[in-house]
Assembly symmetry: C2
Homo-oligomer: 336 residues x 2
Amino acid sequence: MRIILCGFGVVAQSLAKLLDSRSEDLYAQYGIKPRIVGVFDSSGSAVESSGIDLSKLIAIKKKNGSIKNYSNVKNRMSGVEMINNLDAEVLIETTVSNYKDAEPGMSHITDAIKRGMHVISVNKGPLALAFPSLMELAIYNNVLLRFSGTVGGGTPILDYGKNSLRGERITSFKGILNGTTNYILTNMANGMSFDAALKDAKSKGYVEADESLDLDGLDAAAKLVILANWIMDMKVTLPDIQCTGIRNVTSDDIKNAAKNKCAIKLIASCNKDLVVGPKQISLDDPVCVNGTLNAIAYTSEHSGTQIIIGAGAGGIETASSILRDLLDIRKEISID
Amino acid sequence: MRIILCGFGVVAQSLAKLLDSRSEDLYAQYGIKPRIVGVFDSSGSAVESSGIDLSKLIAIKKKNGSIKNYSNVKNRMSGVEMINNLDAEVLIETTVSNYKDAEPGMSHITDAIKRGMHVISVNKGPLALAFPSLMELAIYNNVLLRFSGTVGGGTPILDYGKNSLRGERITSFKGILNGTTNYILTNMANGMSFDAALKDAKSKGYVEADESLDLDGLDAAAKLVILANWIMDMKVTLPDIQCTGIRNVTSDDIKNAAKNKCAIKLIASCNKDLVVGPKQISLDDPVCVNGTLNAIAYTSEHSGTQIIIGAGAGGIETASSILRDLLDIRKEISID
């Protein structure tokens, strides 16, 4: 299985380590031998058709902050050139989410699909802006588009709703889909001001470079788009979400909630309407988790309400979700 | 798909209603047309090779407390005779769990497997006493043995551990697997004595006819056996579980736990040893759910700890898990 890797940040490096450390086991257990034949990020690119030496690449990135010195050959191939010229079966897209035009991820994904590659994206931007049309494009080109890591990081929230409840009808769901705002609101419930809580979250590296993605609810809204399309078969994109962030949540709001034995959480919900916004929820509700945890409650027709809780992010966790997608693609290829 | 149904209690009747109400939708969506051709319970049996009229059967059971008057023909076929003579592809075993010799469920299951039928069991007894050998028998006879409803009722706890985390290694797990003892312990945490809490649970119909199955931890231990075999590939049976029930938990124990911001819960855990017993767990731990809820925390190598929470029992919930198993079997048959 020949793979092109777009981006070489935390998640991509975790994936490289994971594939490297488990190569024998993956072959023995699943008959899968992933070879990354091309990697590019904003700083440069590396190509090796027999498979890149991943530990060497990680060491070079660590030393130079860039991957361009992987080989002596001056490799000037851009990302788009790589996707359009290299032989590969799978594209893994890990560049940063952008909710304006979703570039450069959008071009990576559409170019790869048109060339007949299966695509795994942990970049939420293209899916948030164009889920229905990307899925249509993938089906038309007879390839798989997978994105397990976009919601819940390593926690298989999408897979649970799609597969574990087969035969069931999910009628609604609600959840905490953004760990950063949950961390800030938890801090505030423990007595911190919004500003102090935000500062603490930043010092721990929990806040996106563009803090608006967390604080204004965009990240949660993007995840809600993906869930609504994948689990509920809705054809929606980001503008369909009614979205409010947490900037206007005050310490008084939180104290008032506590009086009602409630906490204020940024809740994404799908129940006729698609809404992201701060809501009071009971401390007894299992969805009411603290810290950076994510939680989702699926309500189904016959099996009641079921809650899944887990870390919603993290390099190695998200890398493990990419591996799950790779195994799905491997299975699909072998059935064909 | 021709089905024999063993037992016609709450779960089996819920299944009959579910299949009846969703027959068109199941055919349209999944290409599955389940026909129950034989039903038996301790009171009698009903047979109809073109498919039993399920609403009629439910009405007769309600009116007479027995299914034997379904047809005018005097039908004296016993369960074992039915399994050994009727043409069917699937056996669904719903008789009462028994942890002494697992009969009559054990004979139903082994006879059906030997005749080449796929088996769905919501009866935990045979699996608790003989999981490894039953699985071996099923593999040898090239049939599927499924049991989603035995753990978590309608909450797909087994499926999550087995399938949603594919590519991952689950290293340990712990959980609340028995809703009845959770309800009693929750009552005690709210100030009731053990006896009053038990009485309340009985009045709500939460306690098994043989209360020892709940109170002495046998039900939780049986579920732990099933999880250990299915998720961790261990070859274990009921005697391998170190099991303590909740009869000796006092109100003082619970008050002391509360002082540590903990609750006492009957925890089933797999971490080298397989143990069921009352334990203090932190009120902040998402596994610490109240009422009749079940919860399990899977700890995995790369994706962190993930918690699933849901109703652990209920007729319609468990029936929905049987439907999931039927869909799996349908899929398997169509691939063959």
